[in-house]
């Protein structure tokens, strides 16, 4: 997936100012930044929900799966009914087989008959991701997927997502948790106020933080990262 020079304006405010992003097969890319940095806007443009005011996006054949920040599900339907509905809307040849496959892949087989509203936040997110994966996309976009999950649910989520990447799916996710980005992102894109400040590996980001905010070198990474953003004028 490739995006070049993405610009998005809301009235007079520029939400994105020329963002570039590329991601290869099986790559896990984390987009981090403070609130209002433009993370969701980038993902929405990559998903085709929003049109950029400038720039271009190249999507690989096979499509892009999108998992929005808040679960986009029908809470009064069961897990199985949700999956079946979206499989039918996507025009799958055998929607029941696709549903079975996703239930198996996400480990939700035993909860298939449960109404989504009664599931835990973690399981709702798994259903949310399963719907995003129904079309077997080459690229999966996850918008802050771990928000609201407890540590155990978060661990299960990342285990599942890492497994997808290992099987060749390109995963691009946004988070404002620097440690999560460092731990799971093979590449990290730092955004602040619509600008791209950094694009590289987590190790390279640590090096950049040490270099540009040396006074915070002894602090934890999150504190040092905040100092780094401050040094860059954000």
């Amino acid at each position: 997936m490739q995006a070049r020079g993405l610009v998005k304006r809301y009235g007079s405010r520029e939400a994105l100012r020329g963002i570039d992003l590329t991601a290869g097969p099986g790559e896990l890319v984390a987009i981090i930044g403070p609130n209002g940095a433009g993370k969701t806007t980038v993902l929405s443009i990559l998903a085709g929900i929003l049109a950029p005011d400038a720039g271009e996006v190249r999507v690989p054949e096979g499509g892009v799966g999108w998992v929005p920040q808040q679960a986009a599900l029908y809470r009064r339907l069961t897990v199985e009914e949700n999956l079946l509905l979206f499989a039918r809307l996507e025009g799958h040849g055998d929607p029941r087989a696709s549903t079975e496959e996703m239930l198996s892949l996400t480990g939700l087989g035993e909860r298939r008959g449960e109404v989504v509203a009664r599931l835990s936040g973690g399981n709702q997110q798994r259903v949310n991701i399963a719907i995003g994966l129904l079309s077997r996309p080459l690229v999966l976009l996850l918008d802050e997927p771990s928000v609201g999950l407890d540590p155990r649910q978060r661990a299960r989520l990342w285990e599942f997502v890492s497994g997808l990447a290992e099987r060749g799916t390109t995963v691009i996710f946004s988070t404002h948790d620097i440690q999560e980005a460092e731990r799971y992102g093979r590449r990290v894109l730092v955004l602040a106020d619509g600008e791209s400040l950094f694009d590289g590996s987590a190790e390279e980001l640590r090096e950049a933080v040490r270099r540009e905010a040396p006074e915070s070198a002894d602090s934890d990474f999150e504190t040092a990262f905040v100092a780094y953003l401050h040094h860059r004028g954000h």
Partner: protein
């Protein structure tokens, strides 16, 4: 679209309260309307004291009028509470046990009978009122005024008939009973004939001239009094009503009531369902996922309107079938019913979609739907003449912008042939469907905002 429709029906099934309300509400309306149109209006509770001696009859001249059945007549129009004395009547009115008391005094018939004598009296009845409830007080006023007007009219007619008989006697002559004796009245016609026969027997001169003047007077009086009879009869009803329908044709009241109930049901069910289910797509965050290549916004709107029309059709037809218990409906006009429900449903659904797209949250949408539908329905039922001309024109424009009024017109036309043509309301509804559809499509753009 069918999968979305199936999904919405599944959601509806999983929301028992919503489903029950959707079915129970129209059934309740149907029962209320049926009950209201199959029952007489409530009668005001009135204390009634009739002090007129039994057997008293109103008489005019030597004729007695038939017994009036006053007690039955009064009690047919009000709920009578018989009392034994004026004091009891006053006490009941003061206590609020009754809204009013009607007292017919002992001398009422004598006073009425005195009207045809040389010393006419003034017959009076006494009405004591408790006006703590202005609506019921007005009802009492109207009922008692009507009763008295009917009594006055009956007596006046009888007097007019008797007056006519006296005139006839004066003109044509004949027997007249007075004080137990029968007197033979000569009559103007016979008097003139006798005088005319005497004329040749008199010599020319002043006596003959005077006789001829008397003959002319008798002829003139006879001819002019001929028209006095019909004139006296007209006095009882000097103004005759000639009713001519200039515009519109009114269906029977019960059909109009059913039409109102059916349209109200259709409006509430469809507007609430369409607006709510559309707002639910936003609330569940499903809208961006759906419109990301799976369903177009226009198709989503069409699906919601279709859902509303389908549910509205089932509920409204069930309600009409339920009302059949109270009123006989013309089932041979079923095709027109369908047209009215589908046309009205589509426009109401489009309006619901516009509301749902504008408000976006289910709770806000429900509130908005009620806040819009209820006053519009109320204003749509105002008859012309109920407001000033300018204000009524404004109301006409406002109600014309919402589908309730044309849907009501279409429904009334469909239920009864006297309800007017269905073509124009359907055309109006089609225009509103298109307008609200566009409005909803425009408002849906806000749904996509991240």
């Amino acid at each position: 679209m069918r999968w979305l429709l199936l999904k919405d029906l599944q959601i509806l099934r999983r929301s028992p309260l919503q489903a029950v309300l959707l079915v129970a509400y129209p059934v309740l309306i149907a029962l209320l309307v049926g009950f209201a149109i199959s029952r007489d209006p409530e009668k005001p509770r009135v204390a009634f004291l009739n002090e007129v001696p039994s057997g008293s009859r109103v008489s005019v001249g030597d004729r007695q009028l038939p017994a009036a059945g006053v007690n039955d007549r009064v009690c047919a129009r009000v709920e009578c509470v018989r009392v034994g004395s004026r004091e009891e009547a006053v006490e009941r009115v003061e206590d609020g046990d009754v809204l009013a008391a009607l007292i017919l005094p002992e001398d009422l018939v004598d006073q009425i009978n005195s009207l045809s004598t040389l010393t006419p009296g003034t017959p009076k009845v006494e009405v004591l009122v408790n006006e703590e409830d202005p609506v019921k007080a007005q009802l009492v006023d109207e009922r008692i005024t009507t009763l008295l007007a009917q009594a006055n009219l009956a007596i006046a007619r009888r007097i007019a008939v008797e007056g006519g008989r006296y005139l006839e006697l004066l003109i044509e002559g004949g027997p007249f009973r007075v004080g137990g004796f029968t007197v033979q009245v000569l009559g103007l016609r016979t008097a003139a004939r006798i005088l005319t026969a005497l004329d040749p027997a008199l010599p020319p001169g002043p006596l003959r001239t005077s006789l001829r003047e008397v003959i002319r007077f008798a002829d003139g009086a006879r001819d002019n009094l001929d028209v006095a009879g019909p004139l006296i009869e007209r006095l009882t009803q000097p103004i005759e009503v000639k009713k001519e329908v200039i515009d519109g044709s009114a269906p029977p009241l019960e059909i109009f009531a059913i039409s109102v109930a059916a349209t109200l049901t259709l409006a509430f069910v469809i507007v609430l369902l369409v607006a709510g289910s559309l707002a639910l797509e936003r609330e569940e965050n499903a809208f961006p996922r759906l419109t990301r290549g799976l369903v177009s916004p226009a198709a989503l709107l069409a699906e919601k309107v279709l859902l509303g029309v389908a549910v509205g059709l089932v509920v409204t037809l069930s309600m009409l079938a339920g009302l059949e218990i109270f009123v006989s409906l013309q089932w041979d006009r079923f095709a027109l019913w369908l047209l009215a429900i589908l046309g009205g449903g589509a426009a109401l659904g489009a309006a619901g979609a516009a509301l749902g797209a504008a408000a976006r949250e289910v709770r806000a949408v429900s509130l908005l739907a009620f806040m819009v539908t209820l006053p519009v329905a109320f204003l749509s039922l105002l008859p012309s003449g109920a407001l000033g001309a300018g204000l009524f024109d404004l109301v006409e424009i406002a109600t014309g912008l919402f589908p309730f009024k044309p849907a009501l017109e279409a429904m009334t036309a469909a239920l009864d042939s006297a309800g007017g043509g269905i073509g124009l309301p359907l055309l109006h509804l089609a225009a509103l469907t298109a307008a609200y559809g566009l409005l909803a499509r425009f408002a849906l753009r806000r749904f996509a905002a991240v």
